[in-house]
């Protein structure tokens, strides 16, 4: 029984720590009050979460209980001292209990202020009014009850009223307001520093991301001279023969060039645009390679507006040609398909060429694809290559995102 309880506590702790470290985890916590807590924790700011993590990891398990025991000892001694010095008539046990009560209340208040100091950054009149009001009411009520119990007259109560008010005021001031103000000041300075640092880091990261995204796209956007010269050669040959296909090939080449030039300026494009680009590329290659290349492209209309990083599918199609069909004696077929699967889209580029054996290394093209996926989606997108009989299958898995 005890074992199960401690195990449960440990699980809760770990779960909360996990949420603090990565707020995205909160969505996975099973519904119930544990999830409510998880969501609250996830909603905290980065700095607050960092500090909560530090606090929780420091005061975990036995250390928490030791810290509580220490505080308890200090408060008990304080309560006893106050009794000896000021209230000789009070029973010792009551004094110790009162010391602990007041002490822990103040400690809780401090911790609350410590972790919620943002709420006290500006003078919060409502808050002060509420605290003072509650204090006063408590004081008056306590005074009245005490006076009545002692059988004192109303007049006497009215006489000591100013003292009660001053006492309550001082109490509130000493126990809540003063520590609150001090803590808030110290914390705010610390917080401002941390926030500035975090903001700086975030800015740096954003700049680095933008830079590498631009570099990667530029790298990708260079149209291969091989492609261009060979295609122009094919156009020239067809034109000299007076073949109508010369115009057709030129049209595909124009489509391809226009699309790739506008794509290289955007980070994200719709699947319709990207598949159009891939189709014009494959149409050019088909005329050039003749019987050695067949291709099929299939894009469901429902997925046409879905956004993906530009030129990724084109890179996969180029790889399929370069490492699959071109090295193959018999040539082969390329199929480009896309389907939706639980909020993700799966883009598959299959070629029936020579397969994995003839693609040693990964090629800069695929490295580039992987880097851009990482930049755009972190770990939630992937590129997988697998041997398909015959040939090679490249699969892109990307979270679905539609144009607004």
């Amino acid at each position: 029984m005890w074992g199960r309880y401690t195990e449960w506590c440990r699980q809760c702790d770990e779960e909360q720590l996990a949420v603090l470290r990565d707020p995205a985890v909160a969505a996975g916590v099973p519904p119930g009050w544990r999830r409510v807590i998880a969501l609250k924790l996830a909603a905290l700011s980065t700095i607050e979460r960092q500090e909560m993590v530090r606090f929780t990891t420091t005061y975990q398990g036995a250390r928490l209980w030791r810290a509580i025991a220490k505080l308890c000892l200090v408060f008990s001694v304080a309560g006893a001292l106050v009794k000896l010095a000021l209230l000789p008539k009070m029973p010792l046990l009551l004094a110790v209990a009162a010391g602990n009560f007041v002490g822990f209340a103040a400690a809780m208040a401090l911790i609350t202020v410590w972790f919620n100091h943002e709420k006290y950054t500006r003078p919060n009149l409502k808050m002060i009014a509420v605290v003072t009001g509650l204090g006063l009411m408590g004081g008056l009520y306590g005074g009245a009850v005490a006076a009545m119990a002692k059988g004192d007259s109303w007049q006497h109560f009215m006489d000591i009223l100013p003292n009660v008010l001053i006492g309550v005021g001082l109490g509130v001031l000493l126990l809540v307001a003063l520590p609150g103000v001090v803590v808030t000041m110290v914390r705010n300075r610390h917080f401002a520093l941390l926030a500035a640092q975090l903001k700086h880091e975030a800015e740096q990261e954003r700049l680095a991301r933008e830079l590498s995204e631009t570099q990667l796209r530029l790298l990708r956007a260079q149209i291969e001279p091989h492609f261009l010269f060979n295609t122009l050669g094919a156009v020239q040959q067809l034109a000299e023969q007076g073949a109508p296909r010369a115009a057709e090939l030129t049209a595909h080449l124009i489509d391809f060039l226009r699309a790739s030039m506008s794509d290289m300026r955007c980070e994200q494009v719709s699947l319709a645009t990207e598949f159009g680009l891939v189709e014009s590329y494959l149409a050019v290659m088909q005329i050039r390679m003749g019987e050695r290349l067949r291709f099929r492209i299939d894009l469901p209309t429902s997925l046409a507006p879905t956004r993906i990083p530009s030129m990724l599918v084109l890179t996969l199609a180029e790889n399929a040609i370069k490492h699959g069909i071109e090295p193959s004696l018999r040539g082969g077929e390329i199929t480009v398909t896309v389907q939706e699967d639980a909020g993700q889209i799966r883009i598959a580029v299959h070629d029936s060429g020579v397969g994995m054996s003839d693609t040693p290394g990964n090629g800069t093209g695929l490295e580039n694809v992987r880097s851009r996926l990482r930049l755009a989606y972190g770990e939630s997108a992937s590129l997988a290559l697998s041997e398909a009989e015959p040939g090679l299958l490249a699969e892109l898995l990307i979270p679905r995102k539609d144009a607004q």
């Binding site: 001279p225 091989h226 010269f229 060979n230 122009l232 050669g233 094919a234 020239q236 040959q237 067809l238 000299e240 023969q241 005329i287 050039r288 390679m289 003749g290 050695r292 071109e326 090295p327 193959s328 004696l329 054996s357 003839d358 040693p360 290394g361």
Partner: protein, 249 residues
Amino acid sequence: MTVTILVAEDEPLMRERLLGMLALAWPDAQVIAAVDNGLDAWDACLEHAPRVVFLDIRMPGLSGLEVAERIGRQAHVVFVTAYDQYAVDAFDAGAVDYLLKPIQPGRLDKALARLREKLDSQPMDVSAVVRQVKAASPAPAREKLKWLKASVGKQIRLIDVEEVLFFQADTKYTRVVLEGSEALVRIPLKDLLGGLDADRFWQIHRGTVVKVTAIRAAERIDAERMQVLLRGSSEVLPVSRSFTHLFRE
């Protein structure tokens, strides 16, 4: 004597273009074969022994560079490439002939003029330049064959390429001879060539490839012909004239 030409280019339109331009610019030369991959190119070289060979660099099977290495001094080689800067630089430095795609008539005339001057002399060996280009090339080397699958009765036998003494062409199949046994593989020898390391497996005949370390001796039969004696097999393999240079001291 009519000059014989072989054209190897994998894209049909580019092949047609080169053939058409050659017919105009060099009407008395004879194109004996036009092929679309490196393996057929090498096979046609062995079959027809052309004087001049136009080789596209990027081709399936064997690259133009690999075919040129095998050709050695047996033909005048002209490389054809769309854009291989590293290769073009080396060709320039080594005075190797090349054409840039798309081939323009003026440029072809110049190359042919140079070629005609050289026709009477022995072809230059381009393999040194080719090795240099291959070393500098950003494209990784073709993966070499490690295993062969051969059916023996109902079984599929896996053969380690390193254990093979020699390969012999047998129409559509290849006879694979090991020490003490042999098998038949369902791939023509021509198609196996691309997967064999040319430094360790020497082709000594259009239909024979032998592992260099399995060669015990090569002996002269007469002024033109040679034969190879093996370790681990009593078979004697003939060396055809195109390959006797391999054994010249």
